[in-house]
Symmetry: C2
Subunit: 142 residues, 2 copies
């Protein structure tokens, strides 16, 4: 996908964001990437078009886009290590906003259907699933 200057201007207006050259180029780099990349990756790409851009600007804009819902965060966990002493296989329910984690019971995965969509050789012997949403408290605030 390639955005015209005009399309990005409209998107930005919808979300109350000022239109700057850096912002447009960062956004386009992510959209065009078709992957799940890090800020450093994006930075490297964007520098080819704007050599003077700063890494902080990339971070700023990625955060901004994520908050607006213009981009999705692939790593929506707490940013620090958490460990679990519950060794019984179980799934987790995670709040995308406050990052709280709860155990969740129940057989709600259709493994037959899931396995049809797995890439060849992917090992799901001990499948773990995390479901993301908003906990009651965070849903109320929003």
């Amino acid at each position: 996908m390639r955005l015209t200057h005009e399309q990005f201007r409209e998107l930005a207006a919808e979300h109350g964001l000022a239109v700057t050259h850096q912002r447009q180029v960062v956004f386009e780099a992510v959209i065009a990437s078709h992957g799940h990349y890090s800020p450093e990756d994006i930075y490297a790409t964007v520098r080819r078009r704007i050599p003077s851009i700063s890494l902080a600007t990339v971070y700023n804009n990625l955060r901004l886009f994520i908050e607006c819902g213009l981009l999705r965060e692939v790593t929506p966990h707490a940013s620090t290590l958490r460990v679990d002493g519950n060794l019984k296989p179980h799934h987790h329910l995670v709040c995308s906003r406050c990052k709280s984690v709860r155990d969740i019971e129940g057989e709600f995965i259709d493994f037959k259907r899931l396995s049809r969509h797995l890439p060849d050789g992917f090992d799901l012997t001990q499948p773990l699933v995390e479901v993301f949403g908003l906990c009651r408290r965070c849903a109320a605030k929003k």
Copy 2:
């Protein structure tokens, strides 16, 4: 759950780990916690029993336990931010070892059944699901 010295000794032997006092106390702290805590949290707990213990020891042993499968990591993503320009709702398949992320298609979640197990007020309007396993390459190595 509370482990006797003897039980921990057996567990450690099974996994080829030396038995030390610090190691036992760290492990017990996690098992007893019934939650999803950070190394700092565990450190605070363990210090009540071993005031001289070092934070590095807590990190060392948590890592070790996770590698052995004695504990589970609640945050099995890459430790740095990743962004996704694909705005279409979709799910992810994540390799627990190399942290690679792939999009996955298909309706393999039984939301009716899932919602029966949700805590009251949890908002799943835009559900995201991550399925963890081992990619072909990592499954081959192991």
